[in-house]
């Protein structure tokens, strides 16, 4: 029986994507980002916001990531790439707020592996975007606002700056 992979291995591979220049930068978002900042919640995938290098076209392509995954033997499953048994969804930054969320992400450490995680204030702002307003996301935003390290002033400034004040 093959030993199970470790979660840290999936994180290490994200860093490798950046070192290889396939992505400019990344930051974990979604439910796993919440786990870093608040209490554990159930989730089955890892959302990763990515800044892609200039592609010389207005159409965004994830083909570089898919080629990298295929070369390493990581299968694609629907819109996910399964990296060391963790389904990872790569989400190209969809606007300036998402760009800033990646650029200002915190570098934390998981079992000796550096990992970029979207800061809680930016997660709240992303959850307040009109396309993302669902009951589940409102609940997550509320949990993040209650987290001890969340800078509520920064949240307010972000919501103001990006026209997201409810």
């Amino acid at each position: 029986v093959e030993p199970a992979a470790s979660f840290a291995q999936s994180l290490r591979e994200l860093n490798d994507l950046k070192v290889a220049g396939i992505i400019e930068d990344y930051a974990i978002a979604g439910a796993m980002a919440l786990v870093f900042w608040t209490e554990p919640i159930p989730t089955y995938d890892l959302d990763v916001l990515v800044l892609l290098p200039e592609q010389g076209s207005s159409l965004v392509s994830l083909s570089g990531i898919y080629q990298w995954a295929a070369a390493r033997g990581y299968p694609a499953d629907a819109e996910h790439i399964v990296i060391a048994d963790v389904p990872v969804q790569f989400l190209p930054a969809h606007g300036e707020l998402a760009d800033e969320a990646v650029e200002t992400a915190a570098t934390l450490e998981y079992e000796g592996v550096p990992v970029r995680v979207v800061r809680p204030e930016y997660l709240v702002a992303l959850y307040c975007e009109p396309s993302a307003r669902t009951a589940k996301r409102r609940e997550r935003a509320a949990a993040l606002l209650e987290a001890p390290g969340t800078d509520r002033g920064l949240v307010e400034r972000l919501l103001e700056r990006y026209g997201l004040v409810p």
Binding site: S6, F7, E39, P40, P42, Y44, V82, Y110, E111, A147
Partner: protein, 68 residues
């Protein structure tokens, strides 16, 4: 509808219960990342049958076979 008189919790008891819950959440928030990931892995197994009863699962919705 008629309601029979019931014994109700005191404000003090309710307050204590709420405080207890907040303390539990704070303790879970302050756990190490490895401990949190271990809990996520456990939650994935507990939550899956409930989710399955609620809606069809996507192919990637399954517990991860990884060590925390």
């Amino acid at each position: 509808m008629t309601t029979r008189p019931r014994t109700r919790p005191t404000a003090e008891l309710l307050d204590r219960l709420r405080r207890g819950k907040a303390e539990l959440r704070a303790r879970r928030t302050e756990m190490s990342l490895k401990e949190k990931v271990a809990i996520v892995l456990k939650l994935q197994r507990v939550y899956l049958p409930l989710l399955k009863r609620h809606r069809p699962l996507a192919p990637w919705e399954r517990p991860w076979d990884v060590e925390p």
